[in-house]
């Protein structure tokens, strides 16, 4: 399992990549996709929707179950990765390229872990 060093992670298994201009890409981790199994559907927010740190902004569905995806930040959805709707398997195949949303206007950020801390945390959950 792979946890890129340049990303930050949440306890609910999302990753976040901050850009130089203070925006952030959000997705689910390799551990999350492995636990969920084959993903077949994603329900995404719309551009302009508000994000609240620690609250659900999307959900993903495997053949067996639905899971919420939480936002690590409070802010606004600037861009949505519509490609995931047609190719949900991308979340399994390349979880760190399969970003859900680009967030901006960030006013609050949840407590985040670095790759090393998250790897240890995931191992304890798995």
């Amino acid at each position: 399992m792979h946890f890129p060093k340049e990303l930050k992670y949440t306890k609910t298994h999302e990753w976040i990549r901050f850009t130089e201009d203070g925006k952030a890409y959000i997705g689910i981790t390799d551990f999350a996709q492995d636990q969920l199994g084959d993903l077949v559907f994603v329900n995404l927010p719309e551009e302009g929707d508000a994000l609240t740190a620690g609250e659900s902004f999307a959900d993903v569905e495997s053949v067996k179950a639905v899971s919420d995806v939480n936002s690590p930040v409070t802010g606004t959805v600037l861009q949505v990765n519509e490609e995931l709707q047609d190719a949900p398997e991308k979340m399994n195949e390349a979880p760190y390229e399969a970003w859900f949303v680009l967030a901006g206007d960030i006013t609050e950020t949840e407590e985040l872990m670095d790759a090393e801390a998250y790897e240890a945390y995931a191992a304890s959950e798995g």
Partner: protein
């Protein structure tokens, strides 16, 4: 309660099975390959399933067939040795105690296969309702059961046994045959909608049979499959699952199983209630999602601005490639082409009533 393990528990761990609780057993929900690839293997090549959690009951005695005809809705009067026949088993209210398969054994006894989660209930029910000279014995712990399912199943089985040990027709079994040196019941049945076999082996030799089959199937694309794929496959084939499309309160007629309910038999448990109820007011239907979203069980279904029923099972069907569900709806909405709306966690998703099964194997 302590979870039971099948004779294949160690094999699942070795194969990388992800273990979950089901019907009181620790069972693999999937292997490392994942549900979709396991599902597709069964439709295009072959899959291997542990179904040892199923229960087996032997019914014997001079009045065995009379008891079957009274306990079950199907007719067991005319049956060849080795033949298998599906039936619902009703309670007095016309609800369903379980659905099961009965084989006629070569020695004239009957071999009944019941759902894992209903095993104790069924054995109790059967014993409480036996009349005359007949005995029922739960032999579940003596048997392991492996399902070999998919278009390559026959080719794989042929590597381990002689042609005369392979039943030619669906719903027929060859009894006590040598498969790779193990004495098995070889039945041409399954719960996937694809061709295949169910092999009953002595519990202590089931693991050896599993390994032999995996080895024989390696170059035919055979992979182990878990309960996740078993569920998506049976849903795609629109086969009812007890606790979903059937229950103590759902009659086999509501579930669309009228073919297996022989109302012209003199009597069976539940017949009077089914007669009194008349044509079912609700019916099982197949739904195909038109809007975006995955249909799941226990979701409300609406049409003409009112609640008309609820879904009983639903998922994304990997082979046909769309989200589908089964639902029990007011009978007037059962015609294919009828548009309905399903409440998917607060969002209305449009769906269409379609003919079942969603997947049908080519002849």
């Amino acid at each position: 309660m302590e979870l039971k393990r099948t004779p294949l528990y160690e094999a699942h761990i070795r194969c990388g099975g992800k273990m979950v609780e089901f019907g009181g057993f620790e069972m693999p929900v999937q292997y490392k390959t994942g549900v979709i690839r396991e599902h597709m293997a069964v439709r295009t090549a072959c899959g291997l399933f542990d179904v040892s959690h199923m229960g087996e009951v032997i019914l014997e005695g001079p009045d065995a067939v009379a008891n079957l005809n009274r306990l079950l809705t199907n007719d067991y009067t005319e049956m060849a040795e080795g033949q298998a026949r599906y039936s619902p088993m009703c309670n007095e209210r016309g609800g369903t105690v379980d659905d099961l398969i009965v084989y006629k054994m070569p020695d004239g006894r009957y071999f009944i296969v019941v759902n894992a989660s209903n095993r104790e209930k069924d054995v109790q029910w059967i014993q409480d309702h036996l009349t005359g000279d007949a005995r029922a014995c739960d032999v579940s712990d003596s048997y392991g059961q492996i399902a070999l399912q998919g278009p390559r199943a026959e080719a794989i089985l042929s590597k381990l046994t002689a042609p005369e040990n392979i039943p030619l027709k669906s719903y027929h079994a060859c009894w006590d045959r040598d498969v790779g040196g193990i004495r098995c019941i070889v039945s041409r049945t399954g719960y996937t909608g694809s061709d295949g076999f169910e092999l009953y082996a002595p519990a202590e030799e089931t693991e050896k049979l599993w390994d032999l089959l995996l080895e024989a199937g390696a170059d035919e694309g055979l992979i182990p499959c878990g309960l996740g794929a078993r569920d998506t496959l049976r849903l795609e084939a629109a086969m009812p699952l007890y606790g979903h499309e059937l229950s103590d309160d759902i009659s086999p007629l509501t579930a669309g199983l009228g073919f297996f309910v022989k109302m012209d038999k003199p009597d069976f448990i539940g017949k009077a209630a089914l007669e009194a109820a008349g044509a079912p007011k609700q019916r099982r239907v197949g739904l195909k999602a038109i809007g975006k979203g995955i249909l799941r069980e226990h979701q409300d279904v609406y049409a003409d601005g009112r609640l008309i029923g609820h879904t009983t099972s639903g998922t994304h069907c990997p082979y046909v490639g769309y989200p589908a569900a089964m639902a029990i709806l007011d009978a007037e909405y059962r015609e294919p082409g009828t548009r309905v709306e399903v409440d998917v966690r607060g969002r209305r998703v449009e769906a269409e009533v379609v003919r079942m099964p969603f997947y049908k194997k080519e002849k």
